[in-house]
Symmetry: C2
Subunit: 317 residues, 2 copies
Amino acid sequence: MENELRRDYFLDRFVIIAVGRAKRPNDYVHIGSVEADTGRGCFFCPGSENQTPPEISRLEEDGKWIMRVFPNKFPAVSPEDGPDTGIMMPAYGRHEVVVESPEHGKTVADLSIERIVSLLKVYSGRVEAMLADPKIEYVMVFKNHGRAAGASLAHTHTQIISLPVVPNLVREEVEAAGRYHQERGTCPLCDAWVKEMNGPRRVWEDDYAAVFTPYASRNPFESWIMPKRHIKALNELDADERKSLASGLKLVLSKLKAGLNDPPYNMYLHVSPGEDDLHMHFEVLPRLSTWAGFELGSGIIINTMAPETAAEFLREK
Amino acid sequence: MENELRRDYFLDRFVIIAVGRAKRPNDYVHIGSVEADTGRGCFFCPGSENQTPPEISRLEEDGKWIMRVFPNKFPAVSPEDGPDTGIMMPAYGRHEVVVESPEHGKTVADLSIERIVSLLKVYSGRVEAMLADPKIEYVMVFKNHGRAAGASLAHTHTQIISLPVVPNLVREEVEAAGRYHQERGTCPLCDAWVKEMNGPRRVWEDDYAAVFTPYASRNPFESWIMPKRHIKALNELDADERKSLASGLKLVLSKLKAGLNDPPYNMYLHVSPGEDDLHMHFEVLPRLSTWAGFELGSGIIINTMAPETAAEFLREK
C-alpha cells in the first residue's frame, strides 16, 4: 500500500495518509503525566459557584446542579460593539462556558446517555438565545479536552462563542456543499454517511445517527457524528435523533478514553448559518499528532493512521 | 482597547486579537526542558553520513561539508505514481532534507548571513530540480524547529516536499491576490509591505527586503519576510535580494532565539505555482500557543498578543 493523497468528500481539502510512517493503534495510547489533580481550588466544582461570573442557567437533579452555564471570565469576544472598518471590527459577541458535570474528574464519556441528551438541549438553548441578537451571524459550540488540546481548566466543560461573522471554515463547507448539490442534486454529507455505513470506515449507527471516520481524516481517530436526516441545526433534532446523537458521542468519547488512555481531543459542531444549508454534524479531533510547517504552510495534513484502521479500533467492544 | 476581529490583508482569514487575555512578551519566554542533547547518535552529524539515504548534493568548505541534501528516510510522498480516481491518488512526489549545518546544536539563527545566502541557493536549486518533473505542481519548503513545532530530530534541518497538486492554502492566496489585483490594480503583498514599513508593525527593512508582523497575526510573534520587488519565486532573486532576505531571516530567528529562549517555530515559503502570480514570502510561526477547538472548527485564530507589541519586541536590539 502506497501513501495516498485523499481529497475530502466535498471540500478542497487534501490529506496524505502516510502509511509508510504508519503506527498501530496502540502506539497512540496517550502517555500523559498523570497529574495529581484532586480538584482542589477548582472554580468549576460545587462550592465555588460564587467564583464564576454570574450564572446564566443551570440544570438540577435532587436539588443540586448537574450542569451550569455562565460567561467565560476571560472572553475572546465582548458584548460591546463598534464600527466595522472593513478589515477591522470589534470582536463582538458572547463567550459562555457550560460545566457538564459537578464531579471533578468526570468527562462527557462518563455521562449517561440521558445526561448527554440534556447537554445537547443546553447547547441548543444557548445557541438560540445567542442567535436572537441580530448582529450575530454564527454560534460556535466547541470543547477542548486535555492541555494539549488547549484546555486550561481540567474540569469538564464546553465553550460557546457567538460571532458577528460566519467563520471561514463553516462558509467553505456551505459553499462546497452548494456546489456539490448543484452538480449532483444531493447533500454531500447525506451521501457520505450512506456510503460510509457500508464500508470499512463505519464505526456505529442506529436508525437516526451515524458515526464514521472520514475518508480524508486529518488526525488519527478523527470521528464524525451526525444525524441521518438532513437537518440544519440542533433545534431541528427530535427526541429520537437527540438520543441517537448522544449515544454516538458517548461511544466515540468512551472508546477514546478507555482505548487510548484519555487522550486530548477537540470537538466542535458545524451547523447551517442563517438561511444557508449545511447538514449539521459533530467532528471529534483527537490531538495525538502535531501539525507542523508542512501542514501550516500548505493546508495539507499528513496523517500517519488510515481512517480504516481507526474505525476498526473504534468498532471493537 | 477592545478585543479586535481583524481580517487579513487579502485572504478571507480572520483572527481575534484578544488583548483582554493579553500577556507581555516576556510571558512567552519558552520554558523548555533543557534536554541533555549532546548529539550522540545523531544521524545528521558528520561521521554518520552513511546512515542517511544516499546524498543528493552537498556544500563544502575547507574540504568538509557545511550543508547536505538527501531524501527523507520516512517520506510523506513517494516517487511511484498511479491512477488518479478523482478523490484519491498516490501521494506522488519527492521528500528531501537539507541539513543546514554540520554542528549539532547550531540553528539557522546562528549561521552567518553568507551561509543563509547559500541556504537560499540550495533551496532554489532543489525546487528547480523538483519542478523539472512535469507531474509536479508545487514544491513546499518548510522548517520545523523544536519538538512542539513537529521536529522529530533536533539537528537543524529544512524539509522540501514536491506535490502533484497546488496546496489549498497557496491556491487561496493566489486566488485572493488575483481578486485584489482585479479590484485595485496592485499586488496585496506589495501594498502590505509599503504600508507596514510606515507603521507600528515594522520590524526591519533595507533596500531590498521587508520584515513585519502581519496585521492579522495568527500566533504571537508571527513574522513575514519578503523581497520588496514583486517577484514570484526563489530563482528570480538577485544577489542583493538574496542577501537582504538572509539578513531578515537571521534577524527574526536570532531575536526569537535570544529574546524568547529558543522557542519552537515553523517556517515556510510561499511562491507562485506555475504560471500563477504570488509575491514570494517567508512566514515564521512561533508555536507559543495552542490552536484549540475554536480555531480548528472555525478557522478563526485567537491570538493573545497584538502584532504591534510583537513588532516592538522584535525591533529592540
